[in-house]
């Protein structure tokens, strides 16, 4: 499955692993915070509309 990377296998795989982990963490962190803030805002707007 993985192509023959020769003596540089560790180098190439560690570069890919580090980059993919960082990219996934960035997307996950952004989406989790985005959802949390959106839910918080909707809750607050509902509370304020109930109290006029």
């Amino acid at each position: 499955m993985i192509p023959d990377l020769g003596k540089y296998a560790d180098t190439v795989l560690s570069a890919y692993a580090a980059s993919i982990v960082l990219l996934i963490a960035l997307v996950l962190f952004s989406v989790i915070r985005g959802r949390k803030v959106r839910a918080e805002m909707e809750k607050l707007e509902q509370r304020m509309s109930r109290h006029g």
């Binding site: 540089y8 180098t11 890919y16």
Partner: protein
């Protein structure tokens, strides 16, 4: 519609509601196309390109290193443009877009630095050298950290936007230096541009350029990184707009008792 009228039409997105409605409509397109381009580009580059005659299989790092470095610099330039809009026209969405982009820039710079060090070790015999391009990139990374820290440190959002905009103007020197350091000083370990060079593409210069075998998947990865950047900045700007509204609502609630 004239160009001036088209440019003026852009200002309607300075309205947070209009921005949120439009970004929610276009975001699925950007998420989907960025993921498709990245997966296709990385799979093509990693599995279906040959080793380089000089660098062996380490050439495959190019599909991450070059797009990340490109976005690290261009992210700061985007922040510069939106900071200038804030300073001149006082549109909150533009200041929040700059704030939203900074963590994306941090990650892009970190990927460029990390993959550069990992690639440099077997090729140059060292993880790091105080080379003009590497050093200016490290300073750009520190500017990103300082920019985010300044936003967090100041309570009043308008004051924070003013000060971070000025910091962004100063940091732009290093964003430009990161790109052109090799040309300015003509020394150090890092090579000059071999991908995005007009003379190399048109064949009017004789310096070595990246082969087409590597160039096409690289181009796909660059497009993927650009689309991912747009998706992340649109999404994160929406989050910043909502976070700002929460603060405003809480303040109103406190004032009204």
């Amino acid at each position: 519609m004239s160009i001036a009228a088209k440019a003026n039409a852009l200002w309607k997105y300075a309205n947070p509601r209009k921005f949120l409605a439009t970004s929610e409509r276009v975001l699925p397109f950007f998420w989907l196309t960025s993921a498709s381009c990245l997966v296709a580009g990385l799979v093509w580059g990693f599995f279906f390109t040959p080793d380089d005659y000089k660098q062996g299989s380490t050439v495959k790092i190019i599909y991450l290193h070059v797009p990340a470095a490109l976005m690290a610099i261009n992210c700061w330039l985007m922040m510069l443009a939106t900071s200038l809009v804030w300073l001149v026209r006082r549109h909150h969405v533009s200041a929040l877009a700059a704030r939203a982009a900074a963590p994306v820039g941090i990650v892009m710079t970190l990927i460029a630095l990390a993959t550069g060090a990992i690639w440099g070790q077997p090729m140059w015999g060292t993880w790091w050298a105080w080379d003009p391009r590497l050093t200016s990139f490290l300073i750009l990374f520190l500017f990103y950290l300082g920019y985010v820290a300044l936003w967090e440190a100041i309570e009043d959002p308008d004051t924070a936007a003013d000060l971070t905009s000025v910091l962004c103007l100063v940091g732009s020197v290093f964003a430009i230096l990161s790109r052109y350091a090799v040309n300015f000083w003509n020394q150090g370990l890092h090579q000059g541009a071999s991908v995005m060079r007009a003379g190399a593409v048109t064949g009017t210069d004789t310096e070595e350029k990246v082969s087409n075998i590597y160039f096409y998947p690289l181009l796909l990865c660059i497009v993927g990184f650009v689309l991912l950047f747009i998706a992340l900045v649109l999404y994160r700007t929406g989050t910043e707009i909502r976070a700002r509204r929460i603060k405003a609502l809480l303040t109103r609630e406190r004032v009204n008792g």
